[in-house]
């Protein structure tokens, strides 16, 4: 997805003189073409996230449309107050990219895990929050963000992600990526790829039993559509690469309450603790039961087929 970001920057810079990109000294060899051909619009702000956000806000105040980039954990925690006060309270719109959301960088240890980034950004009023799964979808999010009068946070992976089927430009409406009738899996970001793979396998043996929905946007969300999902299924499974507080799981629980709905809701995802072992991404999902196999087992359990 970082390549998609670099492509977007390059394409947009030619037509939009206001686009400007700031990085916190990250993105090795990803943005070289952009840097070469638009040197005026590429800023390496150094390993100083708070100043990077403040500088971006000043650029925004001066009429530019900044896109700022760092690793998700560093992008959202360290400069949180600057994002809150300058990006939101003062309403200087910024597009903030957090690379390596969730446990993408699992082997980096807890400092590199972004298991609270969505919660932090959702905590701030008026900030748009996106978690695309693939490159074309990311470009749609960037388009939305750059045209929004609010600050946006976009959590992305690393590289090699494929686009999910059935994603359209209505990014605030959850996308149905697989049809089914008994259980609905709700997810975002990289988890949706695992969910789709798991759900397809189940539907091969038990046709039409599980549906999958992918949330590009956590805010804003088409609430009517969400309530319809609750109306249509008695069992919901939320899978996300985020702590149980403040992410999609919590959004779903709140929406259920508000809509006075009565589905059962289960969750798969990392436990609310610091994960500090060197484990690659696949292994950490195995260990904490939110990878493809765990999703299959959980859905079968919900379908009472275990």
């Amino acid at each position: 997805m970082r390549r998609a970001l670099a492509e977007f920057l390059y394409e947009k810079a030619s037509t939009d003189g206001k686009l400007i990109f700031l990085t916190g000294d990250l993105g090795f060899e990803v943005f070289e073409n952009f840097k070469k051909d638009f040197p005026n619009r590429y800023i390496n702000a150094g390993i100083a996230e708070s100043n990077m956000v403040a500088t971006a806000a000043g650029l925004s105040a001066a009429g530019f449309k900044p896109i700022i980039y760092s690793i998700a954990s560093f992008m959202t925690s360290r400069p949180f107050e600057f994002i809150k006060i300058l990006g939101a309270y003062n309403n200087f719109p910024l597009t903030i990219i957090g690379a390596g959301g969730g446990l993408t960088y699992s082997s980096g240890g807890a400092t590199h895990h972004a298991l609270d980034d969505l919660a932090l950004m959702l905590m701030i009023p008026d900030v748009n929050v996106f978690s695309p799964a693939g490159p074309q979808e990311l470009k749609m999010c960037l388009e939305f963000a750059q045209n929004s009068s609010n600050t946006s946070y976009i959590r992305i992976g690393k590289f090699g992600e494929l686009d999910l089927p059935g994603i359209n430009e209505e990014i605030i409406t959850p996308h149905q990526i697989l049809e089914g009738e008994e259980v609905a899996i709700l997810s975002h970001g990289s988890s949706s790829t695992d969910c789709l793979a798991a759900a397809k396998k189940i539907n091969q043996i038990l046709p039409q039993s599980v549906a999958a929905y992918h949330f590009t946007s956590l805010r804003p969300i088409n609430n009517e559509f969400l309530q319809n999902i609750f109306n249509s299924y008695s069992k919901i499974l939320v899978v996300e690469d985020h702590w149980p507080i403040g992410g999609l799981y919590q959004i779903v629980l709140s929406a259920l309450q508000v809509g006075n709905q009565h589905c059962s809701v289960d969750r798969l995802g990392p436990p609310h603790q610091f994960l500090d072992y060197p484990l690659d991404n696949l292994s950490v999902k195995e260990k904490f039961n939110f990878g493809e196999n765990s999703i299959i087992l959980k859905v079968l359990e919900l379908l009472k087929r275990l």
């Binding site: 400007i20 005026n40 619009r41 800023i43 702000a45 150094g46 100083a48 708070s50 100043n51 956000v53 403040a54 500088t55 971006a56 806000a57 000043g58 650029l59 925004s60 105040a61 001066a62 009429g63 530019f64 107050e81 600057f82 006060i85 300058l86 309270y89 003062n90 200087f92």
Partner: protein, 272 residues
Amino acid sequence: MKDLETLAFRSRILTILSAWKCGSGHLSSSLSLIEVLVALFAKKYSGTDEKKVRIILSKGHSALGFYSVLSQFERIDAKELKAYNMNDSRLGSHTSRKSLDEVEFSAGSLGMGLGFGCGLAQAERINKTSNKIFVILGDGECNEGSIWESANYAAANNLSNLVAIIDSNKVQAVARATDLLGDSTLGNTFLSFGWEVVEIDGHSFKEIEQALKINTTKPLAILANTVSGKSIPLFEDQVSWHYRNPSEADVKAYIQITEATKVAQDLIDLFK
């Protein structure tokens, strides 16, 4: 337009009257900044293009002083100072850009204005325009690490149109600046970060105006030595007055000692 000394004197009276009437503290940090604010606004409104001088009040708690000076430049009505920090007033205890066009960013959390100024300065660079960005910092505010991230960035990017004015009044919220974090050699610190530095008497218009005229190839730090609570012997240079407010007796004594009625009777009448 009245002369600068008169504008400063009237701004001070108004600040003191408002603090007495409305309360809410931070009087001393407003009083120390008056001359700098008057000089900056005079520069801003003296030419044909206001945008040539951008004023960022990073130490947002000097809002009262900021508003008083704005009224003397007729950007707001002095009458509004009677409702400073009162419910539904647009003059809050920290400046808000939603209330006043002259406020470039809503402040109140220290350590943000210099980075914001870097962004504005960088925009000028990209647009090939030459407006100057003045960021007013407190000396206590320079405890914040983010100030130094911004200082580093500004020098590394040769933001020569960025000027930081440090209101060095030596008093912070609950301590003297030097007692808290050692000898406050802010000038040396900015110098070592690659800035041009000039140290002035922050209450001398002659020195302020000279400093504001300096053109450099690096960002410039004007270390303005000021007295917290300037002009009120009772208040001057006292940590306790950072948050205290004057009583009616204090105000009466002030008016008498300074012969304020000669120059600011209209303002005194406003608060009767």
